[in-house]
């Protein structure tokens, strides 16, 4: 939609100028209305779609969070009683079981996100730097690295779920049967190890994206910088530390933010891996909210938790953007 508008605007203007008789009063006015109105008209479908797909559901979600929306009312939402801030106070009362579980889930998600984003970034960047110089088979390796990112999530994660099985899983077969690293086969899909399982899958799925973005960023660093540094006697580590990483800074800022938001909100991975009741150690917030609304049929509380999550993510994103843009400004000055 936007591309049409961009090209149509100037086109209309030149057409207006060359049309004979356009100078006369009323026609000129309609002409101007047309000229001003056209871009908006062309934007209208996109705007409506945006409203329909994004804003309306968000507003409905926020409205839901102030209602007592249980199975008695879901058939006709308008009859659900208003509860004011009850859903919120229930969610953040950390001494009561619901709030306590939400806090636990929140902390698990924070730890999971930090580790996952950190590892994705580190592995992706390392791989991108290693693949920077041309060598035989580089294209093949690059393509291979992107496979986890290109695979459909469901298919990939369900394969992991098979591999993590206690009795017949590949992971236990290698760790226990072949390498003998554990005394007895471990459980990966239930109990405390589930956190590790979730992290492994998340990193496996996420790092190719970091790799892709960093690789693109590396193409923009002029070769001359490295040559000059090489002449001045800088080693590989110094080149990476003084040239590559600072040059990648703008790319990394966006990359980390995107990875953070994706990972924090990830629903598919834990849902496919653990089903609707995730083990406590891997109870990510998105699946926790799902369980709080869909499985217990209390959509108001679920909506309140979602709004809290939205506020938290907005806050983090805002602070992050503020800090990074200030860094950029001071760097420029």
């Amino acid at each position: 939609m936007t591309t049409t508008t961009a090209t149509a605007g100037p086109g209309e203007r030149t057409a207006g100028k060359t049309t004979p008789g356009a100078a006369r009063g009323p026609r000129r006015r309609t002409g101007r209305i047309r000229r001003i109105g056209l871009p908006y008209l062309l934007l209208l479908p996109a705007l409506l779609l945006e409203l329909l797909v994004h804003l309306v559901p968000m507003v409905i979600g926020i409205v839901m969070s102030f209602k007592e929306l249980t199975q008695f009312y879901i058939r006709d939402w308008t009859t659900a009683p208003w509860t004011g801030l009850d859903n919120y106070s229930l969610s953040v009362d950390f001494n009561a079981p619901v709030g306590e579980a939400l806090l636990h889930s929140f902390l698990v998600t924070c730890a999971f996100t930090l580790l996952s984003v950190g590892l994705c970034w580190a592995i992706g960047t390392t791989a991108a730097i290693c693949m920077q110089d041309a060598f035989r088979g580089r294209g093949l390796l690059r393509a291979l690295f992107l496979v986890p990112y290109a695979l459909p999530v469901y298919a990939a994660v369900i394969t992991w779920a098979f591999m993590f099985q206690h009795d017949n899983g590949l992971v236990n077969h290698v760790l226990h049967d072949q390498l003998g690293l554990t005394d007895k086969p471990s459980f990966w899909l239930i109990g405390d190890n589930s956190f590790v399982a979730l992290l492994v899958v998340s990193v496996w799925k996420g790092w190719p994206f970091a790799f892709l973005i960093v690789m693109a960023g590396l193409q923009n660093i002029p070769k001359e910088l490295y040559e000059a540094a090489g002449l001045d006697g800088a080693g590989v580590w110094q080149q990476i530390r003084r040239i590559t990483l600072p040059s990648l800074r703008p790319v990394n800022q966006v990359l980390v933010l995107v990875l953070f938001l994706w990972t924090f909100n990830d629903f598919n991975t834990p849902y496919v891996l653990f089903g609707e009741a995730a083990p406590e150690a891997a109870d990510l917030i998105s699946i926790h909210i799902y369980q709080s609304s869909f499985v217990t049929w209390n959509f108001g509380t679920g909506a309140a938790m979602s709004v809290l999550l939205l506020l938290f993510l907005l806050l983090v994103t805002g602070v992050y953007l503020f800090l990074t843009s200030r860094g950029r400004r001071s760097a420029r000055a």
């Binding site: 057409a15 479908p45 206690h166 459980f187 217990t296 049929w297």
Partner: protein, 438 residues
């Protein structure tokens, strides 16, 4: 210029279309009508080994119905993992099927939403009256004292399935009738990678079915008489502990079963890795898994006294599938007609034979197919020693909360952590606190 005008016209048209489609959602409050009398949409639950099997079983019957009435039934078999979510979504949006299958334990919860057509006397008369159905099956169709939210379609019961060859090898001649005998039998068999009993530790519904029956045997219900959750009574705690102890203390369930949720325990049974499973109507599934009918036997599930009966000798839930009509169906007469067809004596015989279940329609039960050794046990259980799960609106929350607690306790047992009365009680207390307060 012309292309711009065309684009502008296109933009306006598209905007109008969008606005129209946004406003055109189904009215959730509307009642039923008969606006499209020649068509029905039917959501069937997955009763056979997989969705394809169900389509093969049901389609010929739907064709028969079309021939009789001229009404075309569009069939969709919905897997269990999606069914409740799909029904909830349909309830919320008002865009649902005309006729649907529900798990009978959901009856009261779904009844509370008001999305299902109540089967009052007038509606029941249209399908031949409630007298046609077995009493126990009617007990799982909604809150007592209210018009049923659904009518029974297939009935099922839990029983103990055992591998005859493994029993013979271990020198076991009689299937166990009490829990002590079951543990003893299990211990005789366990060893060399073989195990006594299978379980689905991560399947919340199955956990509920098992602990509900054990609760009955300990004299506990999970709800008080006025429908309030009561998960931490001594009987309830003892029931949950007894079930998890089959893995933790008695060691007759393999630790790996703690993560089972997709009927892997049936696979183990068919492969001869476990000798027993407590399951509902498993015969058709065993057949598709390549087990011959004479390889397994079936006996009533264990009870404390060894003789199943009512009260503390309950050994099964009243399991089954109910059929419901969506209240805002646009072919309410056709939907009722279809329910009448599916609960007719002839169809009941055909369908229940195909699925290995028991017809909840009295007249159909006389067929010899339902009096064989396997189905006979199930029929007897339903008639004498099965109890319906609590018919309260919070039933589905109970399944999730307590089912998850049992799953976590199995995880503890599998990891070798102790499962004590205190730890069971703590988990159940947490589950109870998560229940809605109103």
């Amino acid at each position: 210029m012309r292309s711009i005008r065309a684009a502008a016209v296109g933009a306006v048209t598209m905007s109008l279309a969008l606005a129209a489609s946004a406003c055109g959602g189904g009215s959730a409050t509307g009642g039923g009508s008969n606006d499209s009398p020649k068509e029905l949409t039917y959501w069937a639950s997955n009763q056979g080994a997989n969705v394809e099997v169900d389509k093969k079983v049901l389609q010929p019957e739907l064709d028969k119905f079309e021939k009789q009435t001229g009404i075309k039934v569009k069939l969709e078999v919905v897997p269990w993992s999606d069914l409740l979510n799909r029904i909830l979504t349909a309830t919320t949006s008002g865009q649902g099927p005309d006729v649907l299958n529900i798990g009978n334990t959901w009856s009261a919860s779904l009844q509370a939403t008001g999305a299902l057509m109540p089967w009052d006397d007038k509606n029941l008369d249209k399908i031949g009256g409630s007298d046609r159905f077995v009493e126990s099956a009617l007990g799982s169709t909604g809150v007592r004292g209210q018009d049923p939210a659904a009518v029974p379609l297939y009935s099922m019961a839990y029983a103990l399935y055992y591998n005859k060859k493994m029993f013979a090898e271990a020198g076991v001649t009689e299937p166990p009738a009490t829990w002590d005998e079951l543990v003893e039998t299990g211990r005789k068999i366990a060893g060399n990678g073989k195990w006594g009993l299978g379980a689905e530790g991560s399947n919340l519904s199955n956990n509920i079915h098992q602990v509900f029956v054990l609760g009955k045997q300990h004299g506990a219900d999970f709800f008080t008489a006025d429908g309030k959750p009561d998960f931490t009574s001594d009987g309830a705690v003892a029931a949950v502990k007894q079930y998890v102890d089959l893995m933790a203390k008695d060691k007759v369930i393999a630790p790996g079963n703690a993560e089972y949720a997709q009927n892997q325990s049936l696979g183990d049974f068919a492969k001869g890795k476990t000798a027993m499973v407590l399951w509902q109507t498993a015969s058709a599934t065993f057949r598709t898994m390549g087990m011959k009918d004479d390889e397994w036997g079936v006996a009533p599930a264990p009870v404390p006294s060894g003789a199943p009966g009512a009260g503390k000798q309950t050994n099964s839930m009243v399991a089954g599938i109910n059929m419901a009509v969506f209240k805002n169906s646009d072919n309410i007469d056709g939907a009722t007609e279809f329910v009448k067809f599916m609960t007719s004596e002839a169809e009941q015989k055909i369908l229940n034979k195909a699925y290995g279940s028991i017809p909840p329609v009295k007249a159909a039960q006389s067929d010899p197919a339902f009096n064989g050794p396997a189905t006979g046990v199930l029929r007897e259980t339903l008639a004498t020693s099965a109890a319906p799960l609590p018919q309260v609106p919070d039933e589905s929350q109970f399944e999730t909360a307590v089912g998850t607690a049992v799953k976590e306790l199995f995880a503890d047992a599998a990891a070798g952590r102790p499962v004590t009365t205190e730890s069971v009680k703590a988990k159940l207390a947490k589950a109870q606190q998560q229940m809605p307060t109103k």
